[in-house]
Subunit: 448 residues, 2 copies
């Protein structure tokens, strides 16, 4: 038979077993956090009608999308989880209670040029709260705390959520008389940390057409050391600005109540988020000492989720974690916790007799106790059996020879220390459950 | 703005929140079972090169597949999880320990004519054990026990795993001198339960070209009441048959050790599984009293997983649960447990004051205790707040008014009984944790 060389497409992720376990450990904790905050899980089709997915249309999206026909149907693969959410909410409007809090963790598709850490198929982990007509600003503070809780659950401690309010920026621009250039200015400010204040000032003048003096003012404003005090002094100058200041204060005021420590957040007037979409609180999350990674979780408040599908104002606030890229960069930076167990089972049974009855019975007893168990049933030498145990990275191996079976006992070897214990199955179960309970809290990332 | 009517493609599943929770509860338990048995999770791309996916080629598959080009690339969406597994194992052969036990739960795509309970995008939950060169028959018995454990974990009791061994059938056909017609005969036998013995006998003669007397013998053989005794009498007549009998006995002998009760399995010589692919144990699973649902979990032993991709004999044994269809039919038949909690949170906080500090503090306390909590922060009348609680189906609502806040207490209402309790947050947490612990074991299906 001719052999076709097996390969995986460029830009598509396919992990080896231990890495898959590490990835899943992260995904599971993000999922648990979203559920703890009362978000309901949602799953939408990967394939949608192209007309639906591209309702907003235009731009980079249209070029990157996987689009194809099947029979008469013009189809496309989802490129984010926000458009499917908008469609879902509009389609089921009468059947959903609002605010509608949903999370969705799933793969999305973008036919970008594949490069290091950029994927064509990647996981997004989104959580959004959608209101009907209005939505309390409390949800914006809560969303910041979801980010904190999610990253803390991963084991990360050194990270900071930078947040701002788009109304503060828009209001300030109105006050400066440059409201018509707001979009271009926001895009430049968004890049300020990357390009530096001097370059930003230059671009504001050359590209956005802002007078030099005003550009100076903008840069001084967004880089102010004590933004809340600065804003206090500006109160009363502009209505939008006042509204933004009030919202920024409301979010800041509730963060400690939501359990977010001061060292994990900062008001940062440079956060603009390029998209027109956002209208209130906006946030980005950075890992301490790693600005080059960029934001690992972003999002914000928007006023019109589903205007393309329904004549209802559905404001919302949401966050998104690009998990495939996050996993890739964290792994590259050595953030993955080497202590995280990533074997497919907790214990591997190595039968040393031809009769497997004792091994099968032991496996059943361990599984009834909730211990993930495998039997190595192949007819191989002891050395090969031990090498398999090493290969799958299992911590405990149960050796079941004639002597053990005759004595109604089991010998368990700690593959890490080499230490062996011989005891009854009941005692072994007890010991393992204690050891596994201690392992359960090992986070997927190192606490740095 | 023009409105595009939001819609979901025919044949694609998109569930409402409560149904999604029910679906996820089933998926989570299947996943937990696979992990308990030491299968490692795997995730492969949804898109593969068409050449890879269609290496085997031909037949129905090719017609149903979603295939398209992107740039120069000829791409296709996976139509099962077995071909991607074969590719994965061949691609990573040198890096995997064998036997390689993996499970994969994911969506697959088939552009079939959409009909009730048949989907174009659906979940498969697969678990396979792949050997290198050889694989002990113990794995076949264990796989039957995985099916038992998975369905039991779902809450189902009335189901039965029917199993057979392809060598028994092939050996018997060799013995009858009709080995050359084996494939056609197997296909007819596979349908026997549906079409009846008379019709099967007729087809064996008319379509498979089997002499009437032999057809009679075949039907008598596969419908024998005491198959193991019948097989005992045939021992020594044919080598393949003897091997099959030995394997069938080995599997049967270990099922009780693996914890499968006698009422949940039966040796059924009519189980043939049409595919050429299978070479040893084959099984199908039926729900008592519901033959019309068909098999809810099938699989078997095969000898050559990845011959298209690698020059290595990689035998395996696997099972597959078509979860989307299973969920659909179980729901239609009323098998879903109405007691299964499917609210997005355990408790909803209804603040009755303008100041949200107490509500935010309470939410944080509850979440720290692991209680899934939401705050209803919208400025609505009490009635609207209670109606929201009803709408999301939450069991407990915490009412936080001025009196409660002043007294440092919380009023919790059981939305089902209408009973209200006022107590300190600490006591409320304690009471909720006890109530939730009791809920945790509610299975997604009724025990019928």
């Amino acid at each position: 038979m001719d052999i076709i060389t097996p390969r995986t497409l460029s830009g598509f992720v396919q992990l080896l077993p231990a890495d898959q376990m590490r990835f899943n450990a992260m995904l599971d904790r993000i999922r648990a956090t979203y559920e703890l905050y009362g978000f309901t899980p949602l799953d939408t089709p990967v394939i949608e009608s192209a007309e639906i997915l591209l309702a907003k249309g235009g731009g980079e999206t249209e070029k990157q999308i996987y689009r194809f026909t099947k029979g008469d149907a013009d189809l496309a693969l989802r490129f984010d989880l926000t458009v499917p959410l908008a469609k879902y909410v509009a389609e089921n409007y009468g059947r959903l209670p609002f605010p509608f809090r949903r999370y969705q963790i799933g793969k999305v598709y973008r036919g970008e040029r594949a490069q290091r850490g950029r994927f064509r198929e990647f996981y997004q982990c989104d959580a959004d709260i959608i209101g009907d007509g209005s939505l309390s600003v409390i949800n914006e503070a809560e969303t910041v705390s979801v980010i904190y809780a999610a990253f803390t659950s991963l084991g990360l401690t050194g990270f900071r959520i930078h947040f701002n309010n788009r109304k503060v920026l828009s209001g300030f621009f109105e006050f400066l008389g440059i409201a018509d250039k707001s979009a271009a200015v926001m895009q430049t400010i968004d890049k300020l940390d990357k390009i530096g204040a001097d370059k930003a000032r230059e671009l504001l003048v050359s590209d956005a057409g802002i007078p030099a003096e005003t550009a100076e003012e903008i840069c001084a404003f967004v880089t102010a050391e004590a933004p809340l005090e600065l804003l206090e002094r500006l109160r009363g100058k502009n209505e939008t600005l006042d509204l933004g200041i009030a919202e920024l204060n409301a979010v800041a005021a509730h963060l400690s109540g939501f359990g977010v420590p001061e060292q994990n957040y900062v008001i940062d007037l440079k956060i603009a988020r390029g998209l027109d979409y956002y209208t209130g609180t906006v946030f980005e999350t950075f890992i301490d000492g790693h600005p080059e990674i960029g934001s690992v979780c972003s999002g914000g408040r928007y006023d019109d989720l589903a205007g393309y599908y329904i004549k209802r104002k559905l404001p919302g606030v949401g966050i998104s974690i690009g998990l495939s890229r996050l996993f890739y960069v964290l792994q590259e930076q050595g953030f993955i916790n080497p202590e995280l167990p990533c074997a497919p089972c907790d214990l591997l049974i190595l039968p040393m007799t031809d009769d497997f009855s004792a091994a099968v019975g032991l496996a059943s007893e361990l599984r009834r106790a909730g211990i993930r168990t495998s039997i190595y049933a192949e007819d191989k030498k002891f050395r090969a059996k031990m090498s398999y145990a090493d290969g799958i990275g299992v911590r405990y191996a149960a050796i079941l020879g004639e002597d053990e079976i005759a004595a109604g006992q089991v010998t368990v070897r700690d593959m890490r220390s080499g230490q062996q214990t011989t005891a009854s199955a009941a005692l072994i179960v007890k010991g393992l459950l204690a050891a596994l309970a201690a392992q359960k809290d090992i986070p997927p990332l190192r606490g740095i």
